[in-house]
């Protein structure tokens, strides 16, 4: 008579037998006392280990980990907003200034005979960056372009400042939990 091997017992315990195999296994168990003892002992091992008591994690471990998490989170979240704000002010101011300069140069270029691009810039700067030049810029309509560019920069910066404040509030409220 075929004896039940350890491999068969393990296959049975791991629920890897087909219905047909289970049927044959149960039939063979009736006449194989050693296999029956092994099966009972293995079941007892399973029942015991399933009931093992877990070691309790140290007290306040959640608070300790969250404290470290919040430190990491606040450092990671604060920097980008400040950086974005500075970059946005710089970029918009640059775009606005270049745009205003280009328009002013273009306006003045129509009154000159043919000059190289650099000479045009130089002529413009000479004519506008004296005291009377500054007054004329402030009085001119082109000042509106510069003003608009600066206001746009201020709005974008304000947006990042508000987001940064919200982030700070969130971190502050989270630290209380």
């Amino acid at each position: 008579m075929k004896m039940i091997s350890d491999e068969m017992i393990n296959k049975y315990l791991d629920n890897e037998m087909s219905d047909e195999e289970i049927k044959d296994f149960n039939e063979m168990l009736k006449s194989d006392n050693l296999a029956l003892d092994k099966l009972k002992a293995a079941r007892l091992v399973e029942q015991t280990i399933t009931k093992v008591e877990l070691s309790e994690a140290p007290a306040f471990i959640t608070e300790k980990v969250m404290s470290r998490v919040n430190k990491t989170y606040s450092v990671a979240r604060q920097k980008p907003y400040f950086f974005y704000a500075m970059i946005s002010v710089f970029l918009v101011a640059m775009i606005g200034t270049i745009g205003a300069l280009a328009l002013l140069v273009k306006n003045n270029a129509g009154n000159e005979t043919e000059l190289s691009f650099l000479n045009k810039i130089g002529a413009f700067l000479n004519s506008h960056f004296s005291f009377s030049g500054v007054v004329s810029v402030l009085e001119s309509n082109n000042f509106l372009i510069l003003g608009t560019a600066l206001i746009a920069a201020l709005f974008i910066t304000a947006k990042f400042m508000v987001d940064s404040h919200k982030n700070f509030k969130h971190k502050f409220n989270g630290a209380g939990h």
Binding site: D6, N10, L13, D14, D37, K38, K40, A41, A42, L44, V45, E46, Q47, T48, I49, T50, K51, V52, L54, S55, E56, A57, P58, I61, T62, K64, V65, M66, R68, V69, N70, T72, Y73, H170, G174, H177
Partner: protein
Amino acid sequence: MKKLSDIEIIESINRGNSADFSLLIDRYKDKAFSLLKRMLKNEMDAEEALQDSFLKAYNSLKTFRQDSKFSTWFYRIVYNTALTVIASKKRKVEMEMSSIEDHYDLGEYDNQIYAESENVSQYVLKLVDQLPVKGALVLILFYVDSLSLNEISKVMDLSLVNTKVILHRSRNALRDLLIKHNYQEEIL
């Protein structure tokens, strides 16, 4: 109140609610600590490794692809953190060196453990402590944490065949000693 799933908690954290990470900590801290204590044999090391494991998990949450359960992914972090601690303390890296040829013969410990144990549960659990660490871990992850063999193989970076062999050898070693002392008729 409906209990949130691990995935729901992770999605909330990824939306910016970092405080929800405390829910995952509370859910897994005891099991992770038990695993670490078993591997590191030292409560202080286990606590430090536990904090490091959770912090690594938090920092890597955005890379968790949900192609496995969070528990599998997290236990892998815990397991690797323990291996790092073992290696850094320059202990003999028995776990990395060992193979399925680990010593599963518990006969030399049996007499003392049998004499010291008041009941079959105590006896079995003391024997588990004497198993090779990999064998004990596979049993605990399989029966206590209800991980599948496939998941255990991912946690411990073993092949599925290796994992199965370790489970069977560990279970058979304990089973045979229970039969030796006629414990198989006990009912828990």
